[in-house]
Symmetry: C2
């Protein structure tokens, strides 16, 4: 029995860990990604990190969680905004050639979804829809312990879900999309535009916690759109549980209770008693744990 | 080897058929449902129809497609609007007791989805999202040849998907829901309200085909919302193919081409070349064929 390696490849940091069969981190190494120096530079860095952490142990599988868009079936990173200049990177081929073991690639949200489904808040549920609400909004669907990628790997790209054709539009997303209304970026922008509250989502949440009426209105509107998004996911795939992660979910009291109430008003009456939303339990470690689990898929 | 029986239980008619291994109807019987006479009456009628069609053949499995809401896991019909007075009907228990064979229940859209995925337009695709656009809008998701019901059986209840919080509202659905904008009922109501066009969706389509500007506007708006709905499904589960059925899809030329164009504008650029929408090929027979296939699940 060899070890399982998880790689959490982000725009800023890359982390390489050995994950045991209980989904725990046995050892972990951190480095800066330095994506701007090009893929070859970061690839050599990752190879060195893996060599360092493995020592003389044999490797049974390597999994990589990376920013999308990417092709999970072919193992190719496709020009992600968070890794500028990385175009059509055949990362799994490269690592497979070096380590002579199976390498699996998937996006970071799918990796976190898998970790939460197997060892986190979604453990024991047949279908888990993980949603990360941070500067952006993404997600992943795990069915029977396996990531459901969809035909082109776009399952869980819920930030682009249309909720209001006359709503806000952030960057190149659809007008009135979930991410354009409920992400940290959206909350910060809307608060500034409407009420001249500066300092981004963090400041809006701080003010809302203190009872500031304008901040509360902005937060409640974001929660309302998030509830619509969850209702739509429910009426499309009806997952057994929603697991919410990401920076915004740190404001759990402010968000989770009103979110559940709002969601009740948007689903069929028969679904109200079945509403099941919880907060991710693995936090920032979900990504690297889930990456290692990808290798078992 | 015994026979497989499919039952298509509708609000108006009930059909019982023997379906062979190629998904073809070998024999079929039709009767009026007479739901208003109560479940026991219709149950006896269905039992008699099955006895008549089986002759002296042994039965390997029975599947029932029925109007929702229902509980597919427990095999219970739950007060559907289309079967008034039928509350908590344990239909699979009753038929299993009589025929001493396995009986599976699912909603009519899921049954049709399964038939299209196995023997219709979705054949050969890993994931098929079937959508029926008729007086209402429903659907079903088939993954690897199996209906994906979701935790409470609400997968595919896409008519209630929110697309516009300031939009129209039909009956007890969400305001701005897909069904409130793109169903036959919605098209008829919107045309009447705005332009005093009477005669329902059929008349609106007739006028639109003749180039009537007002009718064309109503149809195009309905297609726009349908495209948003398909975009949302794509960004949530990314099915390999959409199969569209139901009365409204008879106006194929009027709908399918503009629908594809609209959908292109609502999905991530990487998905545009992969857009795959087709019309159901089994027509009205999909329901009873799919019902029989449920028994194999």
């Amino acid at each position: 029995m060899g070890i399982h390696i998880g790689i959490d490849l982000g725009g800023t940091n890359v982390r390489v860990a050995i994950i045991n069969a209980q989904g725990e981190i046995e050892e972990i190494l951190h480095e800066t990604t330095e994506a701007e120096k090009g893929y070859e530079h970061t690839k050599e860095k990752m190879i060195q990190m893996i060599e360092n952490i493995r020592g003389n142990k044999s490797i049974d599988g390597i999994g990589i969680g990376a920013p999308g868009p990417l092709d999970p079936k072919e193992g190719i990173i496709l020009s992600p905004p968070n890794l500028p200049g990385w175009d059509n990177i055949h990362i799994t081929d490269d690592l497979e050639a070096h380590f002579e073991t199976r390498v699996q690639l998937n996006n970071d949200a799918n990796a976190a979804a898998l970790a939460e489904a197997k060892f986190g808040s979604g453990k024991g549920y047949e279908s888990v829809f993980y949603i990360t609400v941070s500067t952006g909004i993404g997600g992943g669907l795990v069915i029977d312990g396996t990531v459901f990628d969809g035909a082109q790997g776009y399952t869980g790209e819920i930030g682009n879900m249309i909720l209001d054709p006359h709503g806000y539009q952030q960057s190149n997303l659809n007008r009135g999309s979930l991410e354009s209304h409920s992400s940290g970026t959206a909350i910060g922008k809307i608060a500034e535009e409407r009420y001249h509250i500066t300092g981004g989502a963090e400041e809006v949440f701080r003010l809302a916690t203190q009872g500031d009426e304008q901040a509360v209105m902005v937060v409640n509107e974001a929660i309302d759109y998030l509830a619509m998004g969850l209702a739509n996911i429910t009426h499309i795939v009806n997952p057994a549980i929603f697991v919410l992660g990401g920076g915004v979910m740190k404001s759990e009291d402010l968000i989770l209770t009103p979110l559940k109430e709002k969601l009740k008003s948007y689903v069929y009456p028969g679904l109200v008693p079945a509403i099941n939303i919880t907060v991710a339990s693995l936090g920032g470690e979900g990504g690297v744990i889930g990456a290692a689990l990808l290798a078992e898929q």
